[in-house]
């Protein structure tokens, strides 16, 4: 039987033209048709006053077709728990329109009541990706799990907390490179070394500001092929298997250790001297200069040399350690001349100097 009029709680009755005239069957929807352009009043809500509006009441929901639904000021559109809202077209009617919509783009307000899909800010369910920079504007706090912050005084701040480390920096192979233990204040270089990006740069030790005298900026270890010459002319020939001296330079301190053999000579004339890996540096007065028992000649058989042989470090000599003799009887020191040593002898060095 066709429905011609519905009256309930003051609802205005519908003209017959508004009512579906086909007889309803069990399970059919109730359809209210405002095809004549008149207002339709359902439960106090006004559907479109001018457009054709069709309200279909289904057993599982409400479907507005061909037109919009108007919720008046002061009223509430309530979506029950378990219900969903699906935007299958434009967002018109929800109060905002999404511009630049694309998959995974994060939506931001555009300041004009609309929404914008950010091309440079995406989230795929796992990774939040930013094309550009992230600039925190606030400080971090104690107990932050993993936070990035900023203050005008401290600049970039990284804070975290974990059961083993509070901060961990890893490389692409997931290997820990730098870490700070939980609650700790030491920085640990876990798997590598510290490499300065610029040569001759170092670490200021024992001070809190850059002080030249506290800068450790050089370390080197190696060997060098020594030469033995004389101050005036000529030289000595070394055994190829006994001609190297090891050195280690720490800051401005050089330590040399070695044993070399002279096997023959080429017209030596003058003070015997052995080469150094670095030239001694000039310091105030004789600071940095001096004789050393750590450099001596051994195995030489000269009958007149009743003396102790010593080496000498001095910037004026360049990278050589000349030898001197301290006469036993008088304590006088003279340079060790070529004629005070045999053709074949050895030189032993185990000395430290500044370069």
């Amino acid at each position: 039987m066709a429905v011609t009029k519905i009256t309930r709680n003051g609802i205005v009755g519908f003209a017959s033209a508004l009512v579906q005239t086909t007889e309803a069957n069990a399970g059919d929807n109730l359809l209210l048709n405002a095809s004549d352009g008149n207002a339709t009043n359902v439960n106090g809500s006004i559907l479109s006053e001018t457009d054709n509006a069709i309200l279909v009441l289904k057993s599982h929901g409400i479907d507005f077709k061909d037109d919009s639904m108007h919720v008046e000021s002061g009223s509430t559109l309530k979506i029950d728990s378990g219900a969903t809202i699906t935007n299958s077209g434009t967002s018109s009617g929800f109060g905002a329109t999404i511009s630049n919509d694309a998959n995974n783009r994060v939506i931001t307000a555009d300041g004009s009541g609309g929404l914008n899909g950010e091309a440079n800010l995406t989230f795929d369910g796992t990774t939040l990706a930013v094309t550009g920079t992230v600039e925190p504007a606030g400080d971090t706090s104690a107990a932050d799990n993993a936070a990035i912050g900023y203050t005008a005084a401290e600049g970039l701040i990284l804070t975290g907390q974990g059961s083993t480390d509070d901060i961990t920096i890893k490389n692409d192979a997931d290997t820990t490179v730098v870490n700070v233990a939980t609650g700790g204040t030491d920085v640990e270089i876990s798997a590598g070394n510290i490499v300065m990006g610029t040569a001759s740069k170092g670490i200021y030790l024992g001070v809190t500001s850059a002080t030249a005298a506290n800068l450790l900026d050089d370390y080197e270890e190696g060997i060098y092929v020594a030469t033995v010459t004389c101050s005036s002319s000529g030289n000595y020939v070394l055994d190829t298997g006994y001609d190297t001296i090891a050195y280690t330079k720490i800051g401005n301190m050089v330590h040399i250790v070695g044993y070399i053999n002279v096997s023959s000579e080429n017209s030596p004339n003058g003070t015997i001297k052995v080469s150094l890996p670095f030239a001694p540096v000039a310091m105030d007065e004789y600071a940095g200069s001096g004789y050393t028992r750590g450099g001596t000649i051994v195995g030489h058989a000269d009958g007149t040399a009743s003396s102790n042989v010593m080496g000498w470090f001095d910037s004026s000599e360049g990278a050589f350690m000349p030898f001197y003799e301290e006469t036993h009887a008088t304590g006088a020191v003279t340079s060790l001349q070529h004629d005070h040593a045999d053709t074949v002898f050895s030189i032993s060095v185990n000395a430290t100097y500044f370069a």
Binding site: I223, T271, A279, A319, Y324, V333
Partner: protein, 91 residues
Amino acid sequence: MALTEKTEVDKCEVLSNGVIQARTALVIERDGVEISRKYINRKVYHPGEDVSNAPDMVKKIAEVEHTDAAITAFAEARAAGEARRLAMSGG
């Protein structure tokens, strides 16, 4: 996998008095990638010293740094140091 070995003068330092300190390194590479560098020699070239057999890098530096003035100054400083040292030590 190809291992290659070469030596190179990888550092030259010039001191204010014209002394040139050259370092020679032994470099081992695997497929062109350095895997080891060891310093096998250091040689110091003083003003006035013969550099005809020195590495090219040293020769070029010496052309600039080992001027007549630098050679004279270094020789005078060396002689003065020697004399001062012996006089101080009773030699």
